[in-house]
Amino acid sequence: MRHAYPIAIRLVQSLALLVCVVVLNFLLIQLAPGDTVSVIVGEMGGASPETIAALKAEYGLDQSIPAQLGIYLGKVLTGDLGYSHYFNRPVLGLILERLPATILLVVTSLILAFVVGTALGIFSARRPKGILSHFVTVFSLAGFSAPVFWTGLMMLIVFASLIPLFPVSGMADVARPGQGLGYVLDVLHHLVLPAVTLGMIYVASYSRLSRTSMLDVLSADYIRTARAKGLPERRVVYKHALRNALLPVVTMVGMEFGQLFAGAVLVETVFNWPGLGRLAYESILRRDYPTLLAILLFSAMLVMVANILTDLAYRLIDPRIRGRGR
């Protein structure tokens, strides 16, 4: 396995980075005004100084910040992400319950954006002065400048309200049975609008990038070589040009994964999608710090996994990277 060694290095680097992320997040939360106890006390409608002191001692907030950090790190390493005072249950369970919904949404949007975006880009690159090409330019500009929440609301108005093709919110119909093919189809039906909304901005970005990249590659010397061999045009484009043109797009996909996750917070809120993004939104509103910290940790992990996958994909597409991978 010639990919194993460099990937192992990436894994070790990622783990070190993850520890840094945990520490940084913890310190950032420390900078924010108020703590868990003040939130609880606020919801209780006030409390005596003794009660507050007792609560602080219970949460370990009476100790020094380095000591608190030590305790937190130790717990995170053993898989204990704390207890959510708002949801009133362990954070880990809460997150694991929401994680699949977010992964489903993000991965679907990503695949949608990648496939549709590159297809649009490549078709338009083949006729740079054609109608499709102009459409892609205009569409990508629009898609790129429209904020995700606005696109989401427009989607809701048009495809859920005016033309009620898709459900307004949630991930599944409450009235439907919770298993079987019916359930899968129901979830897919609910998935369409959020996934399209989240994917839109990336369709725009990938179609633009792949169009430029393809135009660039089509004027390369090796494309002339391919034509000089007498290959039919579609083989020149889809065999010799496509793979080279995809390289910058794949890099972009990996780099933008973090942003995609940030976009998921907005989309999940607009569409009431029960994922990590909406959980993040709720925990910020409720100042549910343990939950928020855990979400930040998980999103950092997702971004790292995405980067490693990108690396792997890049190695598969480009043999030059493979050769240097030691």
């Binding site: 010397d221 000089a228 061999k229 290959l231 793979r243």
Partner: protein, 333 residues
């Protein structure tokens, strides 16, 4: 050796559309190449050599087009046969070796795949047969350990090796014509000699005709049967290689040879100056030519007529002609 023409280019005009104006890059060029012969095309950069090659392959870059003239290959007019027929000819009956071996191979496929592709396409070979034949081809261009190199990617090979791969690719279907467009320009001098020797050897083995485009007058002297000297989109001189090189009729050809450091033919190099000569001035930009002879601003023999009236095609000798008013005059420098 049959003298039946394999390729006949007549009054070829190639234009480029710059968006503002349309300028001729090649202006009325003609030549004939017989089966199994080698034609050398020499000239400075930008004089239309490569464009002539690409026009023959019908692979002109966007913006360039053949405005008039004929390109007959085995009797077929290539400008009129259509894309489908062209694809059947390209890589099969005529193939091309490009100047830049570093960028002319696709970086993401193995060399075996890229050579084998031609065989699978034109000769309908299966994967195993194509691979076997590819290894043979790599051996014939003297790539050591061909059975391992076949699975290498271009970046794993040196420039010389890549050019050998390009040659193997061009040879794959035993074409009737190979166009080598400055095949050694990007390579070391020692490797250049190897590549020329290889081309020579392969021509003897396969009997393919070659158009050798180069700056290297020495290589032309060794390899070519006929030579065409290009200047600013015109064919300045044309004829059998020994006549042209020993009794050059066009002042440009003489200047070109005087500025060649390692010319191997005797009489033309006589005089043996220690310092390398050069032709004064530069090729004028496209579209800014004199009304008369395009070489006149740089020509030591030019007079008023040269500047104002386009020179005629002057026959110097049998098969040897030059586009010049002064073919009779000896150059007194």
């Amino acid at each position: 050796m049959g003298d039946e023409p394999l390729l006949e280019v007549r009054d070829l005009v190639v234009e480029v559309d710059t968006g503002k104006t349309v300028l001729p890059v090649i202006d009325g060029v003609s030549f004939i190449l017989a089966k199994g012969r080698t034609l050398g095309i020499v000239g400075e950069s930008g004089c239309g050599k490569s464009m002539t090659a690409l026009a023959v392959m019908q692979l002109l870059p966007p913006g360039f087009r053949i405005a008039s003239g004929e390109i007959r290959f085995c009797g077929e007019d290539l400008a009129r046969v259509g894309e489908r027929r062209l694809r059947a000819l390209r890589g099969n009956d005529m193939s091309m070796i490009f100047q830049e071996p570093m960028t002319s191979l696709n970086p993401v496929y193995t060399v075996g795949d890229q050579i084998g592709e031609t065989l699978r396409l034109h000769q309908r070979l299966g994967a195993a047969a194509a691979r076997q034949r590819t290894i043979e081809l790599l051996r014939s261009v003297h790539i050591p350990a061909a059975e391992r190199r076949v699975d290498d990617y271009p970046h794993q090979l040196s420039g010389g090796m890549r050019q050998r791969v390009m040659i193997a690719m061009a040879l794959a279907c035993r074409p009737k014509l190979i166009i080598a467009d400055e095949p050694t320009t990007a390579l070391d001098v020692t490797v250049q000699a190897q590549i020329f020797r290889l081309l020579e050897e392969l021509r003897e083995e396969t009997g393919t005709a070659i158009i050798l485009i180069t700056h290297d007058v020495g290589a032309v002297a060794e390899m070519a049967d006929e030579v065409a000297v290009f200047y600013a989109g015109k064919r300045a001189e044309f004829g059998p290689v020994d006549t042209v090189l020993s009794r050059a009729a066009h002042p440009y050809t003489r200047g070109l040879m005087a500025s060649t450091p390692r010319l191997r033919l005797g009489p033309a190099a006589a005089g043996a100056e220690p310092a390398l000569k050069e032709i004064a001035g530069v090729v004028p930009p496209l579209g800014e030519f004199e009304p008369g002879c395009r070489f006149s601003p740089r020509c030591p023999l030019a007079d008023l007529r040269c500047r104002d009236v386009p020179p005629p095609e002057e026959t110097v000798d049998r098969d040897h002609s030059a586009l010049c008013w002064k073919t009779g005059l000896e150059l007194v420098a």
